[in-house]
Amino acid sequence: MATKPRTLPLTRRGLNFEMFMWLFTRLSALAMYALILFAVIGALIMGARNQMSFADILRWGFMPNPSHVQSTEVPALEPWATPFWAITASLLLLLAVAHGVHGLVVITDDYITSNRGRLIVRWLSIALTISMSLMGLYLLWQDFLFPAG
């Protein structure tokens, strides 16, 4: 007996915003695992295995920003404070903010079901995304933008 498939074939499903964000949540998660692993490997190459505790390496891994290794035993901070790591950290920041804010919207949608409430949540989520991204990017790039300060 052939049972009727309960899902539409991929070609007929279309791609709306919710479907795109469902996919983005999974792909950004994979990208964040890769970026964290990338930062940890980079730290080990830059000498972390002799000068840093595992907790310090993890702090660097979760956000490869030189302020996270300033207080460790690393003798020279120059290799850590490069645009290369600022770009890596920016990618991690932007993915994390988008992934996180979308997650908050998914949670609030389970408890706020009126159209008006959901519209307010969406405007708040856009404001949160923009403010967190800009503040984070400023923190990651301030040493390059304002070298004196």
Partner: protein
């Protein structure tokens, strides 16, 4: 087009969905925990001064550190399980085993981390 499916939190917690339901609840708590921590950390670093010091004191507390580590580790392991099972949907047949495997990975790593946080917090 307002959906009428707003289930109260209490009913949601009593729903008997076995290990997958517990993972679902903890995944949300972990996601919220990380969102709160990351927001606090960015605000503290951005404004500095007294606000920064006040927020720093909160998240450098050993209890908050254990909570944030629980959030990050559980969310990461559970998220990897969901992502892998979604990419290969036939694996959902074995989701109960996947949940057990997930706890087998989570418990030892979390136990070691809690020991490390507590021993550094209380001068072990």
């Amino acid at each position: 087009m307002s959906l009428s499916r707003d289930v109260p939190l209490g009913t949601g917690l009593r729903y008997r969905g076995k290990g997958g339901q517990l993972s679902f609840v903890l995944h949300r708590i972990g996601g919220l925990g990380m969102a709160i921590f990351v927001t606090m950390h960015i605000v503290a670093s951005f404004f500095g001064g007294e606000i920064g010091g006040f927020l720093n004191d909160i998240y450098e507390n050993w209890f908050f550190q254990i909570f944030v580590f629980f959030s990050a580790l559980f969310h990461a392991i559970n998220g990897l399980r969901i992502t892998l099972l979604d990419l290969w949907p036939r694996l959902w047949e074995h989701q109960q085993e996947a949940v057990w495997l997930q706890w087998a990975v989570f418990i030892p790593i979390f136990g070691i981390a809690v020991y490390a946080i507590l021993s550094s917090a209380f001068g072990g």
